[in-house]
C-alpha cells in the first residue's frame, strides 16, 4: 500500500512539472498569436521568474501557493485579451482540468472555482470588447460552475479511494504486527475507530458469522462473544447491506444491527448498543463501499487461516504419532533397564561363584548363596524373554510412524516439480537436463509417497553440497521407467577415491544390505527409503570425469 501511495505521489509530481510545461508552452502560443500589452521579451523574462518561483514552491511543498503562481501567470498572459475567445478561455480553465493531479492533501475545488471566477471577472472587465455582462458572460460563468461540480464529484470519488487506501495501509500495519493469534479483531477495531473518526458513528462491535446450512455460526468478533441468539435466525440468501430486522442478543444483552455486509458465506454485522443509531443512506453506501474491499481481504485471511489450521492439524496428528513412538522407545529403555537387573546380578553372582569367591562363607551362607543363584538364573531367563518380546514390538514396522504406510498416485511431471523444488534450494535450474519428455511420458503415473521422496532427495542433495567440487547435474529421463540421475564432480578425487569406491560397492551389493544398514546411517538409509517406494538405486563413479553418480529408477507404473 505504501509503495502504491508513493508511486501515485511520484506520478503526481511528474504531472505537476508536465502541467507547468504545458502552461508555459500554451502561454508562449497565446502571446505569439495575439497582440500583447507588454513587450515580448518582458513575457519571456517573466516566464523565468515564474519557473524560479515554481521550483522554490515545489521545494517548500507549498501546493496552494503554486496554484496562485499559476493563476498570476494566466492573468498576466490574458490581461487585455479577449477572454471569450475559445483558446483564451481554455487557458483560464486549465487549472480546473488539472485538478485531479493536485499533489496537495488539502485539495479544494471550490478554491479553484473562486480563483477562476475572480480571474474571469477581472479579465472580463479589462476586456476592451466586453465591458458589460451579456449571454456569453453568464454562459461562461455557468460552464465554470458545472465544470467545478463535475470536478467535485471526481474529488469525492478520489477521497473515497484515498480513505480506503489509508485504512488498507493501517490494516497492513496491523497485519505486520500479527503473531500466531488471529489479527482480525484488531482490524475490526481499526475499522470501528475510523468510522467513529469520519462519521461520528458509535459502533460497539463488528462480528463475523459464517453461514453453515442456513444457520449463522460466530466466526470472529472485535469483542469476545460467548453467547448469541443469531444462530437461531434463519439467514436469507439475499441478505446484504440492510441490517437484520430481527432482534439480536449478544452476551445476554439486546443489541442492534445497523449495517450488514455479506461476502460469500460470511456475514459481517455492525452492532450498536443504541437502538436509535442511524446512518444516512449516503454514509451507509460510503461505509459499505469502503469496508467491502477490506472484508473481502478479511475473508481471504479467514480462509487462509482455516487452511493453515487444517494443515497444521494434519501435521500435528503425524507429529503426535511420532511423539508417541519416541515416548514408547523411551519407556522401553526404562523397561529394559529394569529387566536387565536380574541378568546383571546373575552374571556377577556366576562370576564370583566360578572364581570361588564364596568358598570362604560358612555352610549355611553358602547354601543360601546357591539357593539365590538358582533363583536368579530363573529370573534372568524370564527377563531375557521379556526383553526379546519388547524388542520384537519395537522393531515391528507397522508400529513405526517414521515408515510411510500411505502412498499416492503421482504423475512423472509432478515428481519432476517436487524434486526440482528441492534441487533449486542449493543448485541452478540451468543444471537440470531433461530427456524423452513427451506429453504422454510426463503423464505416466506412479505410486509413491511425497514425504519419503522429499527425504530421499534432501539427503542426496545435502551430500552433494558437502562433497561436490562443482559441476552438479540433475537429469530427468522420462522414459517408460522414470530415471533421475544426480551427478557431481568429486572433491579431492585422488584422496577419497578408494573410500568412495568401497562405499559404492557396498551400497550396490544386494547381499550386504542389512549389514550396511546397521553400520552406517547416510546412504544405506537412502537406499532403505528407496526400497520402500520400489525405486532401484545404483551408485557409480566415472573415474575419467571424476564424477559421483546416483541413479534412481522408478518402477511400478500404473
Amino acid at each position: 500500500m505504501r509503495y502504491f501511495k508513493r508511486t501515485d505521489l511520484i506520478h503526481k509530481y511528474l504531472t505537476s512539472v508536465l502541467f507547468r510545461i504545458i502552461l508555459l508552452s500554451y502561454s508562449f502560443f497565446l502571446i505569439s498569436i495575439q497582440d500583447n500589452i507588454f513587450d515580448f521579451y518582458i513575457y519571456i523574462i517573466y516566464f523565468f521568474v515564474y519557473i524560479a518561483i515554481y521550483i522554490y514552491l515545489l521545494i517548500k511543498k507549498w501546493a496552494v501557493v503554486r496554484t496562485v503562481n499559476d493563476y498570476i501567470l494566466i492573468f498576466i498572459i490574458l490581461l487585455f485579451k479577449n477572454i471569450y475567445l475559445p483558446y483564451n478561455i481554455i487557458f483560464l480553465l486549465i487549472p480546473l482540468f488539472n485538478s485531479p493531479n493536485h499533489t496537495s492533501e488539502k485539495r479544494n475545488n471550490w478554491f479553484l472555482f473562486l480563483f477562476t471566477i475572480i480571474l474571469f471577472l477581472l479579465l472580463h472587465f479589462k476586456n476592451p470588447n466586453h465591458s458589460s455582462f451579456d449571454t456569453s458572460t453568464y454562459f461562461t460563468l455557468v460552464a465554470i460552475l458545472v465544470l467545478t461540480i463535475i470536478s467535485h464529484f471526481e474529488l469525492s470519488r478520489a477521497r473515497l479511494f484515498k480513505d480506503t487506501f489509508n485504512i488498507y495501509q493501517d490494516i497492513d500495519d496491523v497485519a505486520k504486527k500479527a503473531n500466531n493469534t488471529t489479527m482480525i479483531p484488531e482490524i475490526y477495531k481499526l475499522i470501528i475507530s475510523k468510522i467513529k473518526e469520519k462519521f461520528n458513528i458509535d459502533i460497539k462491535q463488528i462480528t463475523c458469522f459464517e453461514v453453515i446450512k442456513g444457520k449463522a455460526k460466530i466466526k470472529n468478533s472485535s469483542l469476545f462473544v460467548y453467547s448469541s441468539s443469531i444462530d437461531s435466525i434463519d439467514i436469507k440468501s439475499n441478505l446484504n447491506i440492510n441490517p437484520l430486522t430481527t432482534k439480536i442478543n449478544i452476551n445476554g444483552q439486546e443489541v442492534y444491527n445497523i449495517l450488514t455486509v455479506k461476502i460469500d458465506k460470511f456475514i459481517f454485522l455492525f452492532i450498536s448498543d443504541n437502538e436509535n443509531t442511524e446512518i444516512s443512506i449516503r454514509n451507509k453506501l460510503y461505509i459499505y463501499e469502503v469496508v467491502l474491499l477490506i472484508f473481502e481481504k478479511i475473508v481471504n485471511i479467514i480462509e487462509n487461516e482455516e487452511e493453515l489450521f487444517k494443515q497444521k492439524q494434519k501435521q500435528n496428528k503425524v507429529l503426535t504419532s511420532k511423539q508417541h513412538y519416541v515416548l514408547e522407545i523411551m519407556k522401553s529403555t526404562h523397561f529394559i533397564s529394569n529387566k536387565l537387573g536380574p541378568i546383571k546380578n546373575f552374571l556377577t553372582l556366576q562370576t564370583d561363584y566360578d572364581n570361588g569367591s564364596f568358598k570362604m562363607y560358612d555352610k549355611d551362607a553358602y547354601a543360601e548363596i546357591r539357593k539365590v543363584k538358582k533363583e536368579e538364573t530363573k529370573r534372568a531367563k524370564t527377563s531375557l524373554k521379556k526383553i526379546s518380546e519388547k524388542i520384537d514390538l519395537l522393531l515391528n514396522k507397522d508400529a513405526n510412524p517414521f515408515i510411510p504406510t500411505s502412498v499416492i498416485s503421482m504423475k512423472y511431471k509432478a515428481i519432476f516439480m517436487h524434486v526440482k523444488r528441492i534441487w533449486l534450494i542449493d543448485f541452478s535450474e540451468n543444471d537440470i537436463k531433461i530427456k524423452n519428455a513427451t506429453d504422454t511420458n510426463v503423464d505416466i503415473k506412479i505410486v509413491t509417497n511425497n514425504e519419503v521422496l522429499e527425504l530421499i532427495f534432501t539427503d542426496l542433495l545435502t551430500n552433494m553440497t558437502k562433497y561436490s567440487a562443482g559441476s552438479n547435474v540433475l537429469t530427468f529421463d522420462f522414459s517408460k521407467d522414470l530415471r533421475i540421475t544426480l551427478a557431481n564432480k568429486i572433491k579431492d578425487f585422488s584422496i577419497v577415491y578408494k573410500t568412495l569406491d568401497k562405499t559404492v560397492n557396498d551400497f550396490n551389493n544386494n547381499n550386504k544390505l542389512e549389514i550396511n544398514k546397521r553400520n552406517s546411517f547416510g546412504l544405506p538409509h537412502v537406499r532403505e527409503l528407496c526400497e520402500q517406494l520400489n525405486i532401484d538405486t545404483i551408485l557409480k563413479i566415472d573415474v575419467k570425469k571424476e564424477l559421483f553418480i546416483t541413479e534412481l529408477s522408478f518402477k511400478g507404473n500404473v
Binding site: H334, S337, N338, N345, L349, Y361, E368, V372, E375, R379
Partner: protein
C-alpha cells in the same frame, strides 16, 4: 539394620539385596519391600536406617518416588539423608537436581549386589560421620 525399599518390580532387585545381605552384612539386614507410597506412614520413615526409593511405583500407589521425597521433605528433612533413589531412567538425576534433591544419591538400574554395596558403604559412612558429636 532396617532397610525400606519402595520398588515397583521387587523381583528385579530382590536377589541383589539378598546377596548383599548374605555376603556383606551376615544376614543382619532386615528388608521391607513396598510397591505403594500409602503402605508406609510418613512417621514410620525415621525407624529405618536406609530408604531406597524407585521413582516409578505401582499404578495403585498414590504417589510416585518424587511424591514420597516431597512427603519426607515436608515431614523431616533429616530423613532425606537416609534416602537413595533407585531408578531405571537416566533422566531422573536432572529432575532430582531441579526439584531440590541434589544431595540425594541415585543408583541407576540395572544393579547387582556389588553396586548396591558400594553405594551403601558410602552412604553409611556419611551417616556415621554426621552422627559423630563435634570434638
Amino acid at each position: 539394620m532396617n532397610i525400606l525399599i519402595f520398588e515397583n518390580e521387587i523381583v528385579e532387585v530382590e536377589n541383589a539385596f539378598k546377596m548383599l545381605n548374605i555376603l556383606y552384612y551376615k544376614s543382619k539386614l532386615v528388608y521391607r519391600y513396598e510397591t505403594s507410597s500409602q503402605d508406609v506412614k510418613v512417621e514410620e520413615y525415621k525407624t529405618f536406617d536406609l530408604i531406597f526409593i524407585d521413582i516409578d511405583l505401582s499404578v495403585k500407589s498414590e504417589k510416585d518416588g518424587f511424591g514420597i521425597l516431597n512427603d519426607i521433605k515436608k515431614h523431616n528433612t533429616e530423613i532425606l539423608k537416609k534416602v537413595v533413589v533407585l531408578t531405571g531412567s537416566n533422566l531422573m538425576r536432572k529432575k532430582l537436581d531441579s526439584d531440590g534433591y541434589k544431595d540425594v544419591p541415585l543408583i541407576q538400574k540395572p544393579v547387582d549386589y556389588k553396586d548396591i554395596n558400594k553405594l551403601m558403604k558410602e552412604k553409611l559412612n556419611q551417616l556415621s560421620k554426621n552422627n559423630k558429636p563435634d570434638s
